[in-house]
Subunit: 356 residues, 2 copies
């Protein structure tokens, strides 16, 4: 039996005073925990995507800042470490947010009190994330229970919005873990999520580890599965949600929403309210990251000898284009599932929660 | 400058009396022509997918039967060779059709006349396919010219419906080749087409060989490209078309049609009339092939040393499901482009052509 500690992406060992993370670049083939015990190690973990997922990046950075202050609590080092951590993934909103939270708490303290306070703050951020995701799970579980399905509940997801992207539970996967724990017969269609294959590499791995039945499919299969009646709902995460309820998430999400509408399948988006950006009126105002073409043209896996290596798919001189996200119009979203409740994907729905 | 012989999947050398095909399993990394000169070689070429695409399979089988009769024109050998070729891909409709055409022409002839007549029939099937695809290209070119686009015309395709799937021209790619030859500034978005990557492996290769500008994208990107206004039309092939105009094509096709409707992009399907199955009232009556899960969980490419090998993407014990086709409802299809003309995707549209 796995404990919650086995379904967790970042451990804090209070006795040893150390942080350990799963090196996600080695998944699904190798589960390796790395102890982080220097500013360089924390920065490398984030920059090299050993840890990824906005909530997890934020918490990791907070522990990194605390670690730096335990060696040198001076104001100069506070600023040096903050800047180094911020530079690892400059566009991740949670990284800014988490570092700001720590700096805000420690900057005015005498240096000798800073390390303990920073560590305390990092541990609180970690606990807050777990609580927030757990609540998303409970809210989402109510939605799953309300679906008019007898027998096995088939849920389709996209990319990785599980505990590997947060600390525990995840966002989109949290309701699934809660349902499985409650004894509901759930089965997850894991969309492989080209081009980086986070579905195959991360989501299938973490669901299997938790004992949740799942099946990987090509992203292309999702309409066909829905046409056959083999999908009871779609449940995905969100990287940024606009004020009108438009959802920016991993590229390919919108296609699932379009297929869901065509075949009458509910399409739910699970998100912490920290991803809502009321400064973006619509999805059209959200900038879409364009990543390296090499992600489309090459892929990593295990060869026959069990060695992890990358192979080139395309012929020499082939060009590729790689937008990392797409926009799902609010009209295609059946509901937003947040830690404060389930609302319509609309300005009205979000306003109620954010004012509450 | 490439000649039409360089943009052709199967050559007949009248002087040497031999057939040569491109081994498509080696593309895009190696272009190797294989001479086929025994029944075994022809059967292997089809069964191992050195040749694929329904029209190309049919023509290859016809040449195989002629080759067998050149060695032994007896009625017994005619039946043995026909059965062997038919067994290579038992579900491919064009294989039945082409073999039936040859047998029909030679069965009642004196044995000494059979080999020449079979060869003549195979050569005619080859020429007919070229003519049919060329006409699809001309009909489709008219549609492309009618699009209200100034400057570069951005066409999205899926899978491979080019000359590698036929003899020359292709179906969906034929209008693109005609447009390029006519000096129209075309650019093709090549959807990689998971899980077998025919977009990256075959379509990008044949377009580059013909000098047509193209860019590979993850299948997941298609809605995002349309949202940005970067797609002027979608042009795909069809493996089978039902009497009501529903289209069965490579899995992922329906998702492009759904995105095209959402963003107001015309969605055209190019097909030879031989793929229309008036015995299937709707797409729901077409059986969908389910292929090996390994196609989703492993991928082939070139390693750093230039060696072609396969790598496993998923962790041990991962399950996958792999439907090879999906159904695009007729209501999502802007027009069917055939060798006899462009019609609506409907019973009325198809009836006019098939009666004509």
């Amino acid at each position: 039996m796995l404990t919650s500690d086995d379904l967790c992406s970042l451990r804090w060992d209070a006795t040893a005073g150390t942080v350990a993370i799963i090196d996600q670049t080695l998944l699904p083939h190798t589960l390796r925990w790395c102890h982080l015990d220097s500013l360089e190690a924390f920065c490398h973990a984030i920059a090299s995507m050993q840890v990824r997922g906005a909530p997890l990046i934020g918490v990791t950075a907070a522990f990194g800042l605390a670690n730096a202050l335990s060696r040198d609590p001076s104001s100069n080092n506070l600023e040096v470490a903050r800047a180094a951590l911020l530079a690892t993934r400059p566009t991740a909103v949670n990284l800014h947010w988490a570092l700001r939270r720590v700096v805000h708490e420690v900057a005015d303290l005498p240096p000798e009190q800073r390390a303990d306070r920073a560590l305390d703050c990092a541990r609180r951020l970690r606990e807050e994330d777990i609580t927030s995701c757990s609540r998303i799970g409970e809210r989402g579980l109510e939605l799953l229970r309300a679906l008019p399905v007898e027998g096995r509940l088939n849920i389709m997801t996209h990319c990785n919005a599980g505990w590997l992207a947060t600390i525990q539970w995840g966002t989109a996967l949290a309701p699934i873990y809660k349902a499985h724990a409650a004894g509901m017969p759930v089965h997850v269609w894991v969309s492989e999520t080209r081009p980086r294959n986070q579905g195959t590499n991360l989501t299938a791995w973490e669901l299997q580890r938790a004992g949740v039945p799942c099946t990987v499919v090509a992203d292309n299969s999702c309409a066909e599965l829905m046409r056959r009646g083999q999908v009871d709902c779609v449940l995905v995460g969100s990287d940024r949600t606009a004020a009108n309820g438009d959802v920016c998430n991993k590229v390919g999400t919108c296609l699932k929403a379009l297929a869901a509408r065509e075949y009458g399948v509910p399409f739910y988006v699970a998100l912490p309210l920290s991803t809502v950006d009321m400064d973006c009126p619509t999805g059209g105002d959200i900038p879409i990251e364009e990543r390296d073409a090499a992600e489309v043209l090459a892929v990593a896996g295990l060869d026959a000898a069990g060695e992890n290596l990358e192979v080139n798919l395309a012929g020499a001189g082939t060009r590729a284009f790689n937008p990392a996200f797409d926009i799902t119009p609010a009209a295609l979203v059946s509901a937003l599932v947040t830690e404060r409740g389930v609302v319509s994907a609309s300005q009205d729905g979000l306003s109620v929660l954010l004012q509450g």
